[in-house]
Structures are given as C-alpha cells and as structure tokens.
C-alpha cells in the first residue's frame, strides 16, 4: 500500500484553499450584476468547470491516440481518469448553466448550440463508460474505449458548429458593448478578476482530482493483477 506522495498532499490542501478563495471572490469581491442579480455569481464556477472539463475532453482524445500507438495500458488508466473527472465537472457546468438560465431567460433549458452540445458530449462520455463496462478483457476494453473516445471527441465539436450554423440564445459573455443575446452581461473588472481566480482555482482542483483518480486506477490495476495471480 503506497502512501500519498508529499506533492499530492500539498496539492490537496492547495485545491481546497483555492476553492475557498474562488468562492470568496465570486460571492464577496465580485460586484452584483445590475439586471439579473446574484444568480450571475454562479457564472464563475460555471466557467471554471467548463473550461477544465473541455480541456480534459480534448486531452482525452490525445490520450486515445497515445494508447493506440503504444498499447501501454497506463495510458488507458490516464484516459479513464481524465474522462471521469471531466464528466463530473461538466455535469456541474450544465447544471449551473441551467440554474443561470432560469431567471435570466425564463427557462430551465434551451436547445441552443452550447447547451445542446454539452448534453450530447456528456452522453457520449457516459456511453464510453457503458461500453467499457461490457468488456472484461482489459486490452480490448482499452482499445474500444480509445476508439470511441476519439470518435466522440471529433463528433462533439462538429455537432456544436452544426447547431450554431443552423440555429442560434447563449450569451456571448465577453462582448464589447451591448449584449445582443438576452441574459448576457458586461463584465466589469471586478468580475473579470473573479473569473480568472475561478479559472486558476478549478484548474488546480481538476489536476488534484485527476492525480488522485489516477492513483485509484493504479490501485485497481494492482488488485486485478493480484486477483489473477492468486486465483491461478
């Protein structure tokens, strides 16, 4: 049983601290939005989780390629961890987006490009886990997982652009002067600061969770190997 490396312990603490700091910035330091009020404050966590989850998903596609080329199962473990953490973060993104939408656009959901693509992307990665669950052989599981993650990862951006081309309410947040779409808002410097704090905080939190999840995966692998050895 390996104990946590010191660096990870430090990262754990840092992640929690930054979460607190970001919350403080979002709830206290950032000014209140003029029209929609305090619900706008969920935007900071919404952006933080969205940004990290999307990078996580992108990273996943790269990991797929690396696994398929090297056939080393550790890349598969890295991929599972990345997808799982991104899935959780993206869920938060979607829920926060919906909570923001309700008072801002008077609806819990809209079928605009970003929300729709977000829902589809989430479903793709849930399907990824369902695919893996149905396969016992670790090598096949890794191969199929990688291929599907890659297909899904290519399809999701295409979906986004397709919907954007063919329909169009998501506020373009950092717009110059007027927010054309309803529910948009102009960012003051206080808000920008809070946003950057959130981005940094969630990046650290993501990396912390990711590293912890990888260790879990390594542990899983160790147990699997030992199980095979003992039952032989």
């Amino acid at each position: 049983m390996q104990s946590k490396p010191v660096l990870l312990k430090i990262l754990d603490v840092l992640a929690i601290v930054l979460l607190g700091v970001s919350t403080y910035f979002a709830l206290v330091i950032a000014p209140t939005e003029l029209v929609m009020g305090n619900v706008q404050r969920v935007f900071y966590f919404h952006i933080g989780t969205a940004w990290t989850a999307l990078i996580g998903f992108l990273f996943t596609a790269v990991l797929s390629v690396i696994y398929l080329v090297t056939k080393d199962l550790k890349w598969d473990r890295y991929q599972v961890a990345a997808i799982e953490v991104s899935l959780v973060f993206f869920l938060i993104t979607i829920v926060l987006g919906s909570i923001w939408a309700r008072p801002a656009w008077n609806t819990w959901w809209t079928w605009d490009p970003r929300l729709t693509t977000a829902a589809i992307t989430e479903l793709i990665y849930v399907a990824y886990f369902m695919l893996r669950q149905g396969i016992d052989d670790p090598d096949r599981r890794a191969r199929f997982g990688s291929v599907y993650a890659l297909l899904g990862g290519v399809s999701a951006p295409i979906t986004f652009f397709a919907i954007r081309l063919f329909r169009t309410i998501h506020p373009v947040v950092i717009s110059g002067g007027n927010s054309e779409a309803q529910g948009g808002f102009d960012m003051t410097s206080g808000m920008l600061t809070a946003m950057f704090v959130a981005l940094i905080a969630f990046t650290v939190i993501f990396i912390d969770l990711y590293w912890n999840r990888i260790r879990l995966g390594n542990l899983e692998d160790k147990v699997e190997q030992l199980k095979l050895k003992v039952t032989m």
């Binding site: 793709i124 199929f144 899904g152 399809s155 081309l165 063919f166």
Partner: protein
C-alpha cells in the same frame, strides 16, 4: 426453418472460403482489395436475398414506426410540412440500428467474422464490404418507405434533392454504425449498446440531413440548403476515414 439456416450457413462458409482464397500478392494488392470488398458485399447480399430476415424486419419496423408517429404527432396537413423530414430520419435511424445489429450479430454468431479475419486480406476491405452491404440494406428499406409515406400522407417525396440527402446521410450512418456495431457485438450488452454508442456520435448527420431534407421538401432556396449538405459531406469523409483507420483495432484478437 432449420434446413433453411444450414443452407445459408453453407453459403456463407463457402463465400468465406472464396474470400480466403484471394491472392495476396504484392503486385495485385489493389486488385485483391476490391475483390475482397466485393466478395464481402456479395456474400451479404446473397445471404440476405435467400433469407430476407434483415430486410423484412427493418421494413416492418419502419412501417410500425411511421404508424406510431401518426399517433404520437398530429400529422395534419399543416404540421406535416415541418415535421416530415424529422419523422423520416427518426424512422431511418431506428430501423438502421436494427439492421446494423443483426448484420454484425450474424457475422459473429455463425463464426463468419472469424473466418473473414483469417483471410489474408486487408482489414479495411472487410470494413468497406460491410459498410456497403449495410448501406445497401438501408437504402433498399428507405426506397420502399418513401412511396409508402408519400401515399399515406399525400406528400411527394421523390425529389432528386431529397434522394441525394438520404443517400449522403445513410452513407455517414452506415459508415459509423458499422464500426460501432463491430464493437458492440463483442461486448456483453451487445444489441442494447449500439444505439447508446451511435446516436450521440451521429447527431451531426441527423441534424444536417433533417435540415437539408426539410429544405428540399419546403422549396427553400438552395443557398440555405447547401450548408447542411456540405456538412454532411464533410462528416461522411471525416468519419469514414476515421472508421476505416480504426476498424483493425476493433477486430484484432
């Protein structure tokens, strides 16, 4: 029934043997590639022609779906215009999974897939062969559904633009679906898994196909329709290339 199935098995087995006998010389590689592809396609079409099990299932299922839509949606004359494209594509998507599932399941259960893999042909030849035969089944079913729907709802669906969209959309669907069905047939959950894997990934196809189909049916200006059609073509090219690259990773032992 038992007699019939052994007949098909023998036919499939002999067809596989023929494919195995393909020369894999360096010089004649492109020749043998096309021979392998057409052998796979021919085997599937022959087998299906004999039993018609896939085809009849897909057809009946499609008709039932149209029936259900009739009760689910108010397809009065006004709504029909806006909704026809969607109903058609939903029907094709669902009936399509049926065909894809059965097509791969037949390969696996009768050991034909293993037989094909033993043959010294490029894996991608098997992929293309399966795509073409799956596509053929889908197109045949679609070609029958179109007049049925036209008659039932008094809509003329035989417009060249619409037919082209149906072809492009079906190509994308069969291309991705064949790869994913090859995956899902090797899992424990098999049939149930294919729609779960396929539908999220195929959304761009459905989206563009419905948009373009609807455009053609409602006489929209071509400049507006060209965009979804271009997207369909782009998707088809990208995904068939990807699937073609990945197929060998899916079927290797």
């Amino acid at each position: 029934m038992a007699v019939k199935s052994t007949k098909i098995d023998r036919r499939q087995m002999t067809a596989d043997r023929d494919i195995s006998r393909q020369p894999s010389t360096v010089g004649g590689q492109s020749g043998s590639f096309f021979k392998a592809v057409s052998a796979v396609v021919w085997k599937d079409l022959q087998a299906e022609f004999r039993s018609r099990e896939l085809f009849s299932a897909m057809l009946v299922f499609s008709l039932l779906i149209i029936l259900i839509f009739n009760f689910a949606l108010e397809l009065d004359i006004k709504t029909r215009q806006s909704v026809t494209a969607g109903v058609l594509w939903a029907t094709f998507a669902f009936a399509g999974t049926l065909g894809l599932n059965r097509s791969m399941a037949i390969e696996k259960d009768r050991g034909c897939l293993d037989g094909l893999l033993l043959a010294p042909v490029d894996r991608s030849a098997i992929y293309f062969g399966k795509v073409i035969s799956n596509l053929a089944f889908m197109l045949i079913v679609e070609v029958i559904i179109l007049p049925v729907y036209s008659v039932l709802y008094n809509v003329n669906l035989f417009q060249p633009g619409l037919l082209m969209v149906i072809l492009l959309g079906s190509i994308g669907y069969a291309g991705v679906g064949t790869l994913l069905s090859a995956m899902s047939v090797q899992t424990r959950t098999r049939d149930i898994l294919l729609p779960i894997l396929l539908f999220p990934v195929i959304i761009p196809v459905l989206l563009s196909a419905v948009k373009a189909s609807s455009g053609f049916l409602n006489g929209v200006e071509f400049s507006e329709i060209s965009l979804p059609i271009s997207l369909l073509i782009v998707y088809d090219v990208i995904f068939i290339s990807l699937a073609f690259m990945f197929f060998e990773y899916i079927v290797e032992e």
